[in-house]
Amino acid sequence: MAKQAKLFDSKRPKSKDISWCPGCGNFGIRNELMDVLEEMQYTPKDIAVISGIGQAGKIPHYLNANGFHTLHGRSLPIATATKAVNPSLEVIAVGGDGDMFAEGGNHLLHAIKRNPNITVIVHNNQVYGLTKGQGSPTSMTGMKTTTQPWGVYDEPMNSIAMLISQGCSFVARAFVGHKDETKEIIKNAILHKGFSYVEIFQPCVTFNKINTYMWYKNNTYFLHEHDVTDKEQAMIKAFEKDPYPLGIFYINKEKPCFDNHLPPYKTNNTPLYKRQPNFDKIREKLNYRSF
């Protein structure tokens, strides 16, 4: 059967030469994302994928959608602002574990609080891929890396617990190996109004010999009969490991959303690039300053 061309598959010249290692978990995430967007009936012009730097961050080059490959750690403020000035766009921020938890940690913390209506996908391979195998904030204790040759001495960061504790309005974890479930989670994240956080376990076949496809398969399970509105339960689940729970941990639909408080859209939703300033008001402001 001939493979149907995917709408979000890029045909730009450089997109054909995908620089990820064969077998890398990033391929799966890209496929799942392309499928979800098409199934949700988006067109490429509706989407803006804003990525940081890292292997995960390369994704805009392999998608047929608006993209911005930014700086290490800085995708969230950029994505927040892009959505704020252009509200009809569906904005998806993408980055690795180093990108989001280390270099961009402060932005993640504040994106939770600000709660802009964007989705963030963290490709968590528990290692620095692009820079060739240094430990990341989520590397497992004992893991030997190029820069922790004696093994990581400290405990990995519990991002899910951190997000729930700070009241992130949508918190989920997936494993790229479970295609349908991951797609479902991404879909729900996009539909959620507020800051939707999806962390995807993504094997790095080159630099992470511990957290392999098999390891993730054996060390994860899907949450069932879990009430996503119960923060306390979600928190308890967040601390579970071996096996790690997957699925949607927590949703808070009541959390005030950044985008709902923006003055330009009190009366209409026109994106800002189609507007002119209110010059009469400026004149009024100047008159007011006649002392």
Partner: protein, 564 residues
């Protein structure tokens, strides 16, 4: 031209500002030209802050340290101002400050505290003093009472009336003092003052930004740049713009980049330390060719430096911020009118050339206010963007270096912006040829910018021997001195655009002596001139104590250099 300097000094929280506000408003409405600048300590309570108010019959915007009338609100003020006090200074203060004044100074006791108590409220003191000072200049009594009443309107009718009475008592007291001590401060009124408006530098920058179409403001608080954010946030609802305090300056600058990417017009306001954190963002804007407008209000560094004082020490930082090579524009408004117009212009230039534009002001300019002609309001802004079709490429290797910029959602095409080196589509490349072609393309824009750069302003003697080179907020002060000493064959060239630098070689060669006048330790602008124009300026007048260059300082320095 008659001009007098009134200095009010007190501890933070003592109401000096209230007196200042009432006084300047009444004087302005009475038809006097007013100018006010403050110097204050980085503390919320206590310390000593002073405001210098210049009252004149013609527009006067230079900074003078001379004190004609000093009003201390607390002990210590007289000593703090000691170097600025001369035989002609009159101190108007409570009896208990007399000792601090000493014997050689004209000290006139004012019992404002006692008067306030007698009128029934200690808080009337500021209104009494306002009235008293107004009377010295024969300001309009009716304007005074009306203004005081409006000011206290929401405090209830009684309090409003009582304050107005207190102001009149103060006015009477002032008249009495003038008679008793034979004082006269005669300044002519000027009917044209009524047409003018009063702006401080921060307001000028804020309103200029709005006039430039700014609709997304991102910042992290830092003196002296915060005032601009506060001004803008207070207008946000009405102007339908977004103003957000971000978690740090890195977020602020990147958010601004995100706003421009999404089709907004972002604006960032910060000071040296914050700007230092934005360097990588500058570089991203340079590489991804995303417009950026940053207001950098300078204060003395390094590090936290002197948070509430002034400097011109961030020129090099702004000039070199960001790794790699990319074009940029640096403006340094010379005065309040330019703070407005250049900020407006920055948005158009940033958009048109897809580059960072930095507006360098400083604490002095931001905090100073005076009456100015009503600035122009634009008719329309040009969004320099294109509707994208399916074949759209973001970084077309164009002749001019400008690749038409799309916005996500505008048209049927898509765009890829990239901080990595890229091909015409925006996808990452490491090809040597393409790398060079893209770098050259971006840098070509600098050639256009050079042609369009603002020429410096020349003032003074056409047949000059001595040429002063200055930039930014010192303009009016340097100009004042140059005009005063025109007969000494003195002239100046003043820059409001720092980069790209106008070619002034011909001016420089005609001078016997060239002196750079700057508010930093090393002469950063002189160094830039040397680098760009191969002309070394040996003589420099540099002030780096956190205080603005004054007429007196400049006179002294020029005398010491044998110019005057």
């Amino acid at each position: 031209m008659a001009t007098f300097n009134v200095v009010l000094g007190g501890a933070a929280g003592q109401g000096v500002n209230t007196t200042e506000e009432m006084l300047t408003k009444v004087l302005k409405q009475s038809g006097f030209h007013i100018f006010a600048t403050k110097e204050y300590m980085s503390r919320v309570r206590g310390g000593i802050n002073t405001t210098t108010i210049r009252i004149s019959s013609e527009p006067l915007r230079s900074y003078s340290e001379t004190i004609d009338i000093l009003v201390p609100f607390t002990s210590g003020v007289i000593n703090w101002c000691r170097e600025r006090i001369s035989e002609s200074t009159v101190i108007l203060g409570e009896e208990n400050f007399r000792d601090e004044a000493g014997d050689d100074i004209t000290f006139i006791p004012v019992n404002a505290e006692k008067m306030a108590k007698e009128l029934g409220n200690k808080l009337f003191i500021n209104t009494i003093l306002s009235g008293l000072l107004c009377s010295l200049f024969k300001a309009d009594k009716k304007i005074l009472t009306k203004l005081v009443q409006t000011k206290f309107e929401d405090k209830g009718e009684n309090l409003s009336q009582e304050n107005s009475d207190a102001a009149l008592e103060g006015y009477k007291e002032g008249e009495k003092i003038c008679k008793e001590y034979n004082l006269a401060f005669d300044v002519d009124q000027d009917a044209s003052v009524g047409e003018t408006i009063v702006l401080n530098g921060a307001e000028a920058v804020s309103l200029g930004a709005l006039n430039g179409g700014c609709n997304f403001v991102s910042f992290y608080p830092m003196s002296p740049a915060t005032t601009v954010a506060v001004d803008l946030v207070n207008m946000a609802e009405e102007m339908e713009i977004i103003v957000e305090q971000f978690e740090d300056e890195i977020a602020a600058v990147n958010a601004s980049i995100g706003a421009w990417f999404g089709g907004g017009r972002g604006f960032v306001t910060t000071s040296g330390g914050g700007f230092a954190l934005m360097c990588e963002g500058m570089s991203l804007a340079g590489m991804a060719e995303i417009p950026l407008v940053i207001h950098l209000a300078q204060r003395p560094g390094p590090a936290t430096g002197l948070p509430t004082r002034t400097a011109q020490g961030d020129l090099n930082l702004a000039l070199y911020a960001g790794h790699g090579d990319f074009p940029r524009i640096l403006f340094a408004p010379s005065n309040i009118s330019e703070a407005y117009s250049l900020t407006t212009q920055s948005f158009d230039l940033a958009d048109k050339y897809q580059i960072p534009v930095i507006i360098l002001t400083d604490e002095y300019l931001v905090d100073t206010y005076y009456n100015v002609d009503r600035p122009n309001v634009s008719e329309k802004i040009n969004h320099h963007i294109v509707e994208m079709d399916k074949k759209y490429k973001r970084y077309v290797l164009s002749e001019s270096g400008i690749s038409p910029r799309g916005v996500p959602g505008y048209g049927d095409g898509i765009l890829i912006a990239n901080g990595n080196e890229h091909d015409e589509y925006g996808d990452t490349t490491e090809e040597a040829g393409l790398t060079v072609a893209m770098q050259d393309k971006r840098m070509k824009k600098l050639d256009i910018l050079k042609k369009e750069t603002l020429q410096p302003r020349f003032c003074g003697n056409e047949n000059y021997d001595v040429l002063l080179i200055s930039w930014g907020s010192t303009f009016d002060t340097v100009k004042n001195i140059v005009e005063r000493y025109n007969h000494k064959k003195l002239a100046m060239l003043h820059f409001s655009q720092i980069y790209p630098l106008a070619d002034i070689s011909a001016y420089l060669k005609r001078a016997e002596t060239v002196i750079a006048v700057e508010q930093n330790m090393t002469g950063q602008f002189a160094e830039l001139i040397q680098k760009e124009l191969c002309f070394k300026i040996d003589k420099r007048i540099l002030k780096y104590d956190g205080r603005q260059i004054s007429e007196e300082f400049l006179e002294k320095e020029l005398s010491e250099k044998g110019v005057l």
